[in-house]
Amino acid sequence: MDLSLEYALPVLTDPIVIGLIVAGTVMGVVIGALPGLSSSMGVALLLPFSLYLEPIPAIALLSALYCAGTFGGSITAILINAPGAPPAVATAFDGYPMATKGEAGRALGIAAVSSASGGILSVLVLLFAAPLLAQVAYSFGPPEYFALGVFALSMLASISGEAPLKNLIGGCLGLLIATVGIDLTTGVERFTFGVPELYEGIQFIPVLIGLFAVTELLNQAQELGRERIAVTVSALKLPSLDDFRRVKNTILRSSCIGIFVGVLPAEGSTMAAMVGYNEAKRWSKTPDDFGKGAIEGVAGPEAANNAATGGAMVPTLALGIPGSATAAVILGGLQVQGLRPGPYLFEEQPGLLYGIFFAMLLANILFLFIGLLGAKVFSRISLVPRTFLWPTVFALCFVGAYGLNQSMVDVWIMIISGLVGFVLKKNGFGPAPIIMGVVLGGLVETSLAQSMIIFDQQWTGFLSRPITLSLLVLAVISLIGGKIRSVLRRLLSRTNRTA
């Protein structure tokens, strides 16, 4: 990939791209700050409308929203103890206690600086790592892609420690949804029930709008009446230089953790934030202050969750394997735009990497100022009555699902996905693994079919290629690694007790 400025300048100087990045950042902070609306849902809702744009401005808009939305969640986490998005859950542990002590401005300032630092570091990694990874991926054939898909799906087992089995089932259900339509190699209809609109498969956008937004709407309907106590930002007291000195190592450490977790397929900002928080506590000189309003407890998760955004885009762009749920939605957006995520993407769209890099960089810088100067204004967003917010969100869902093909079948798919998604969520199945399965379905099936032809229908062929074998071994480790770890821990504690 050519990193020359020849491709960068047209993107960096395009007023439309800059305008869309600013709009995406503001929308991201607003969406992130609204309890119940996450960056995944924001990107999902915006995706159908971004299709009216050229690929680079469209992806720049979505990428900016992704970064800003991840930060936005911290505002309500700190002020009303209601994380606007799952990655901000860990921020509330210490952010809200700080706010109740009258240090809301300090907490918001630390959150903004940590988020921006983590985000900026991660986009720098993205700029250099994505093309390098793409170079490696040039040598990948169908068996390697199949193994990579299996590895990505196996990582679903570790997205949430509580429900690895359900995440795997969710991912497989997503794969099954992706099989609907005419089989490309044989022309045979599968699960179409004679509905012509399903011949080309179930459209990705209505499914993801249903799973993310409609499911959350139903969730909100069940949570009505729960009161949230808001803390007022009486004075925007910014963090002192001393505060920054205290958290600089936490920010750096958590940023590295966030980038690493983000690069891993399927792992996203939420996991990065939890690891970032735990590590901040482990390295702290005053771990007992955690949970009572420690600034490292805000800096750690915030740096990590925003660093994961850039990290997650590395495998998404270079390999076509999503690094997080939101990256899966952006990947879907690239596919709907007619682009081919993977190593050839940078050849076909040389400006795209710059578009995404620039969007994420600018978004991180912009929300730093927004976070520092506009926290008071954005904190009021959480006061928008849910009774008016959600009908508007539903109208956007309807229009977004319908708009792509102007088909009512897509609206029905969105409604059914939402209802099914809610039932699944109530039974412990999150929407992210299903989306991951839907996005990876085509790649996994096609590469498996091609591999089987290459290997003359012999499964053992997969063991004859080193990269494939390594990826499959990693997949097995990620599937059973957690179980082995807990068995070993149990054995160790039993041995210690007897000793």
Binding site: G187, A221, W390, F398, V399, Q406
Partner: protein
């Protein structure tokens, strides 16, 4: 894992059985394409994996205490009814009118009693959608059977 998971696992197994049965109805592959992987191969592979994982889910849930979950409120069921009916309503009344009705019905179902605000939302929402999407982006929404009949007459 909770006892609840046993029921979830059994439901998934039933889903797998139905999905597998559906794969038996796939058309025959033309002879010239028979060297390819059959169209049933991948769906059946995925169904088998889901079935295996579901068996594990069933087994893990046996003997565990059932999870205590609250009953869904009337508000929730009203919301489900409103959402589910939008698809039908849109084909009868048209999309914009349906979204206007949703803008009234959903807030009222959720306990909102500031009718003037509800009225503003019900009017502004469809109008904004029409201005942005129909006039701005050329997205034409179904006008519905009733409007269609009125226009015919």
């Amino acid at each position: 894992m909770k006892h609840h998971d046993t029921i979830t696992g059994l439901a998934l197994l039933a889903l797998c059985a139905i999905a597998y049965w559906l794969t038996t109805g796939f058309s025959e592959v033309p002879a010239m394409l028979s060297q390819n992987v059959p169209p049933t191969f991948f769906p059946r592979l995925v169904i088998s994996i889901v079935a295996t994982l579901s068996v594990v889910l069933v087994a893990a849930g046996i003997g565990r205490e059932p999870e205590i979950t609250g009953r869904s409120s009337t508000t929730f069921w009203r919301t489900v009814a409103i959402i589910a009916s939008t698809g039908i309503l849109a084909s009868i009344l048209g999309t914009l009118l349906t979204l206007g009705i949703v803008a009234v019905a959903l807030p009222i179902a959720w306990g909102e009693r500031r009718y003037s605000f509800i009225g503003i939302l019900a009017v502004c929402l469809p109008i904004s959608i029409y201005l942005i999407f129909t006039l701005g982006l050329n997205v034409y929404f179904p006008t519905g059977q009733i409007v269609g009949l009125l226009l015919e007459n």
